[in-house]
């Protein structure tokens, strides 16, 4: 119950995402040539939940650090696992819906909207966990932004193969690659159930690992922030 409440609260803030999504739909429909849509839409779906997922969690964290509100949560029955889970899982909801809205607005409202949401959500979870971990390393938000460059670069490498610049297999073990596989097949409207299930399975595995690492980070670093606040 506590987890549900906290997830709801974390999911509440970023209404601005939907404004960005509507703007993106307008850009896609008026400025992007139709022949580029099968490449441009997956690239957008790939980039938005990842980058915004990192920033969203970090924004929560830096705000809470400034307010010291995390110290107030530390003297409630809310456990560290619930705190981290709510932050990561809750913050991933808005980017998921907002990005799915872009796909629906550009490619149409059909089954693909439902199919695109699980990978979008899992990407936002992975990137949110990375954002949480990075936020414990950098004391200031500006330094945090610089600190996101290496993970975002690694995250973005599969785009090279997606655009045909390097071999696809080189980036198979980067979590974001699995999402790109799904977004690509959905944009070209060539659904392959096995490829979808395999990619989703890998993404789920990465999301669980990232969540676990974020909980371990909480125990090691955020707890220390609370102790010495």
């Amino acid at each position: 119950m506590r987890l549900v409440l906290t997830v709801q609260w974390r999911a509440k803030f970023p209404q601005i995402y939907f404004g960005v999504a509507i703007l993106a739909v307008l850009v896609f429909r008026s400025l992007i040539p139709a022949e580029l849509v099968p490449l441009a839409v997956p690239a957008f779906l790939f980039g938005e939940p990842g980058s915004l997922g990192i920033l969203m969690v970090a924004a929560h964290r830096y705000m809470e650090r400034g307010q010291q509100s995390v110290v107030a949560l530390a003297v409630t029955p809310l456990t560290s696992r619930e705190y981290v889970s709510a932050l990561i899982f809750g913050s991933a909801i808005a980017p998921t819906f907002a990005t799915a809205l872009v796909q629906a607005g550009v490619l149409g409202v059909d089954a693909r909207v439902a199919l695109v949401m699980p990978p979008l959500y899992l990407i936002a979870v992975v990137s949110g966990a990375i954002g949480l971990m990075l936020s414990t390393v950098f004391a200031e938000f500006t330094r945090f932004i610089l600190g996101t460059i290496p993970p975002i670069t690694i995250y973005s490498l599969p785009l090279l193969s997606f655009f045909g610049l390097t071999p696809w297999w080189a980036f198979k073990w980067i979590p974001s690659d699995s999402a790109l596989v799904i977004f690509g097949m959905l944009a070209r409207d060539r659904f392959d159930a096995w490829a979808y299930a395999g990619s989703l399975g890998l993404l789920t595995l990465f999301a669980v690992l990232a969540w676990w690492a974020a909980i371990a980070t909480y125990a090691a670093r955020i707890r220390r922030e609370i102790e010495f606040a």
Partner: protein, 286 residues
Amino acid sequence: MIVSARNLRFRYPRSAGDVLHGLDFDIAEGEIFGFLGPNGSGKSTTQKILTGILPAYRGAVQVFGHDVGSQRADYYNRIGVSFEFPNLFEKLTAEENLAFYRGFFDVPTDEPGALLRSLDLPVGDRRPVAAFSKGMKTRLVLARSLINRPKLWFLDEPTTGQDPHHAVAIRDLIRAQADSGVTVFLTTHDMTVADKLCDRVALIDEGRLPVVDAPRALKLQFKEPVVRVEHRAPDGSLERKDFRLDDAISKHAFLEMVRTTDVQTIHTQEPSLEDVFLRLTGKALV
């Protein structure tokens, strides 16, 4: 005893030495126990240990009969913690802050509106907490710490930033909670608050407790047996003279002055808790 600390010691990582040097104290049920000391004396560190935030202490600390280090989530259902820093969710309204917070507890909680009213905070105010004054934020933190109807209430400088009217209201609230059986652990450097509220105070200095006793007992213990007399001099000016009551000659002089001059006031000179602290440690409280 609700709280019992024996030989409590604590050292922050990378610090040269202990910040708490073997504290011993007990707190009985329904007692208002004051931790009185200057900034940096170890008050907040002690509170953090008792609230389970700092687990790496040495010595024995029991709360509700259990080691504080082994306390789990249920412990937080039974305590309330009001921080000196108003660590609220600033983008939320006062009611949203309380409504959000109460959802974490597994015990019956109070209605946010009633709590807000009890601390003279507006009900139905749509402003985010960020727009509140410091005094309002402190009162909201107090309200939040009561939402789960705690049995043990930790208060850190509860009257900071309050005008005299609200400071009195907060003192009345604390007294009312104690009268209803709530045990209060109050850390402060405000001797007036400690003097007016606390059943007993522990004076803490550089991580040591030189004395733990009732405020009145401490003041009597350190009282100077002196009477101060203000009287009108023949030229009409107001003069002041102190007489020791433990000295026969001085006592005689005092009676002579009362008999022969136009006495305006006579007062015994009782020390304040600040004087007691100064006497014991050689330092001022603030």
